[in-house]
């Protein structure tokens, strides 16, 4: 409970820090809106050009896009410490400061970054999600809402876990490793479409390495009324847990990595 309280208080403080520069905050938030709306334009154009994509209707595509956007940007909103700031924390020695405090390293890293500018991206995602569900004629039930919430929550953990790979490299090499972006930002771009449109190697990658197929695709398909291969309904609730699994594995590796932390000079 203490940790939650600390996190909420830290977030309040960070929000106030951001609002110290109101003009810059508004401009950047609008810039994010333009960027994310541009991403959505691409989907609109695809839907406009092809009525169906391997059996998925336009509405379905919006739904997938919305689900990915909401998950990804919620993660960036609340998890900025891991998704963006960690490399600079290592480089500037802020991590030393964190190590001097009697709280968990990961807790404090998460407490020291947020990105409220992403709110517009989350809004765009939500609009796409609603549009997609209307166009696909989804009949919502309590179970479907639950599946949606679980899918978003687990995808957030998965994305956080994937960004932690970069953090772990960072602890060793001090520099950030851009290569890892291939599965984080790359994963977002690829998996905002239904994953079964891709060739097998990519399907395997997004099922085993970065299991967006399990956290997003399976529940989304069920919500849209297209269950996979007639799998039983419980799979919809069990497969997304792989997101949590990735997160916990990465957390363990992160703590292992911290043992080899070597700090920077001063």
């Amino acid at each position: 409970m203490d940790t939650v309280r600390l996190y909420i208080r830290s977030m309040g403080m960070l929000l106030r820090s951001h609002l110290q520069y109101p003009a810059s905050f508004v401009m950047q938030t609008l810039a994010q809106l333009v960027m994310e709306a541009g991403e959505m334009m691409v989907v609109i154009l695809v839907v406009d050009r092809f009525e169906k994509l391997k059996g998925w209707t336009g509405g379905n595509l919006f739904f997938f896009f919305g689900l990915m956007s909401v998950s990804f940007y919620i993660t960036e909103f609340f998890g900025r410490g891991i998704t963006g700031d960690f490399p600079s924390m290592v480089r500037t020695g802020k991590l030393d400061t964190i190590l001097l405090r009697p709280r968990g390293v990961l807790t404090q890293v998460l407490c020291s970054g947020m990105d409220p500018r992403r709110i517009t991206c989350i809004a765009v995602g939500t609009v796409a999600l609603i549009m997609g569900s209307r166009m696909s004629g989804v009949e919502w039930s309590a179970l479907k809402v639950l599946a949606l919430i679980e899918s978003i929550g687990m995808s957030c953990l998965l994305i956080l876990g994937l960004f932690m790979i970069e953090s772990i490299f960072c602890i060793h090499s001090v520099k950030s490793v851009e290569l890892v972006n291939a599965i984080t930002y790359g994963g977002r771009s690829a998996c905002q479409y239904p994953i079964d449109i891709y060739p097998t190697p990519l399907k395997v990658m997004f099922t085993v390495l970065a299991p967006f197929a399990l956290t997003l695709h399976v529940p989304a398909a069920w919500i849209l009324g297209k269950p996979l291969y007639g799998w039983p309904i419980w799979t919809v609730f069990v497969t997304p847990l792989s997101g949590a699994a990735v997160f916990f594995i990465m957390t363990a590796l992160f703590h292992r990595g911290m043992r080899y932390y070597r700090s920077t000079g001063s």
Binding site: D2, M13, L100, S263
Partner: protein, 321 residues
Amino acid sequence: MSYIEVDGLKKTFTVKKKREKGKLLREKQTVEALKGVSFSVEKGELVGYIGPNGAGKSTTVKILSGILTPDGGKANVGGRVPWVDRKEYVKHIGVVFGQRSQLWWDVPIIDSFSLLKDIYKLSSGDYEKRLKELKDALQLEELLRTPLRLLSLGQRMRAELCGSLLHRPELLFLDEPTIGLDAVSKIALRDFLKWENKENGTTIMLTTHDMEDIAALCSRVMVLGHGQKLFDGKLPDLLERFDTVRTVSVKYDGTDISLKVPEGASVSQKDNEFFITYCPKEIPTARLLVALQDAGTISEMTLQPENIDHLIAAMYKELDL
């Protein structure tokens, strides 16, 4: 057993060298930052830790504050090993880096302090009492509502000190605390540290390049160079060992001066002023004076003790640092 016990502390870093021409891989080089440093510090002591850049001072501080794990050796601070159970250990220590801020940049400092209260899980009563004590001693009252980024360096350093002492640490590390401060701020900082040490019995260990800090604060000084401890004792004893050279400046009436000084002393001349550097242990001062008087009529003469910074420089040179 002493409060801090350090025995044979070792730390090596691997540094990748720049890739040489015609070689595929970069060569690795190991740098020994600490080669078996041992010392002990009693509770309530105020110890200065000096040495040239790269001597291993910061590495020692980082190991003793639990940030780094050493490659060898033992350390025990108040019955705890710094790098084992970090979370429990850091509750009892405070660290201030002169070049690095630990408070939140964009918010009023009182907000930073109140978040630190949550981080250290302090009770409201303890926190209020301690904050009052510290803000009086550090004259922070008027600054509490100001964001850190708007404070001057001296004000910021006072805020940092307050932040790292809120949880009443038994031990305080200061890594170059007076760097970049003006004379008034330096004196205020030293006075505060003396007060904290006396009033709360806090053990203080500070690294610095400013010998005035050591002279004003520390009863004991340790010299580190090339990852080894070279001296451990009182500052006057350290100075005595290297305080060997005196400089005399002499002005004469008239211009036709032929000065012959005893063997071993060196002379330099600027306009009509002579500077004679000699070692009183080798050449008695009386003998030098006779030689100076023989050369002409002295109009002005000053005898200067060596500047403390020069002494340290001479010591580093003699110890080949």
